[in-house]
């Protein structure tokens, strides 16, 4: 698909800004997101091409504004819901429950 992910040759994306002594993960949730991708991929829920395509289908503006592991998490969630391993209602419910517990 002619998506926003197909970035080669585009202008106006700004400077590259490498981060000195960059850590492997920038937040605890990134660790979890990475681990969830590997474990669900290994569990046979989707193949890598389905995973990449799920990222490409993200809302274009959101794709550009969000980080790499947010893309991954979007795809993992999208595919697990599509395949029936999770439902959106379950996720919303669990988020509400966790937020309440933390309050």
């Amino acid at each position: 698909m002619n998506g926003v992910h197909d970035l080669g040759g585009m202008h106006g994306m700004g400077p590259i800004n490498p981060e000195p002594n960059e850590p492997v993960f920038h937040a605890p949730w990134e660790r979890t997101a990475f681990g969830l991708f590997i474990t669900t991929f290994a569990g046979g829920h989707f193949n890598v091409d389905e995973f990449r395509h799920a990222i490409e289908k993200m809302d274009a503006a959101h794709y550009l504004e969000s980080s790499y592991y947010a893309h991954w998490m979007h795809a993992v969630e999208d595919l697990l819901v599509q395949r029936g391993a999770l439902t959106s209602a379950e996720i919303d419910g669990r988020m509400a429950q966790l937020a309440k517990e933390a309050a």
């Binding site: 197909d6 193949n47 990449r52 395509h53 490409e56």
Partner: protein, 118 residues
């Protein structure tokens, strides 16, 4: 679907999952062939970047037979085919602003390219 057990983690990471396939498929191109990248615009998954479409390149290497991402993303099978390392002159991709000597390499599935007949 079973969960990945912890005792399988090291083996999984060390082995991975190659997309290379053992199917005996005859190559349609050879190193040295001049090829044109097909101008395709599928609304589905593809690993053919837009900037290369319609451009001329030269086959440098036959990488072997691989599972085709474009079909595998949509439950349409592996469609095993040769992948070629194809060299492009930077100026053929980007015009005169590119440095005269610079080049760019892409890995091209057979379905992405056609032989250029001069």
């Amino acid at each position: 679907m079973p969960a990945l057990p912890v005792e399988n983690v090291d083996g999984l990471i060390a082995t991975g999952a190659t997309a290379r396939m053992t199917d005996d498929v005859a190559p349609r191109f050879r190193p040295g062939d001049r090829v044109r990248v097909r101008n395709i615009n599928p609304t589905t998954h593809t690993r053919l970047p837009r900037y290369a479409r319609g451009k001329m390149g030269t086959v440098e290497a036959d990488r072997g037979v691989f599972c085709f991402n474009d079909t595998n993303a949509h439950g349409e099978g592996h469609k095993p085919q040769h992948v070629y390392g194809v060299r492009f002159a930077a100026r053929d991709l980007w015009g005169e602003q590119a440095a005269a000597r610079d080049t760019l390499y892409l890995d091209m599935f057979e379905d992405y390219i056609e032989l250029h007949v001069a």
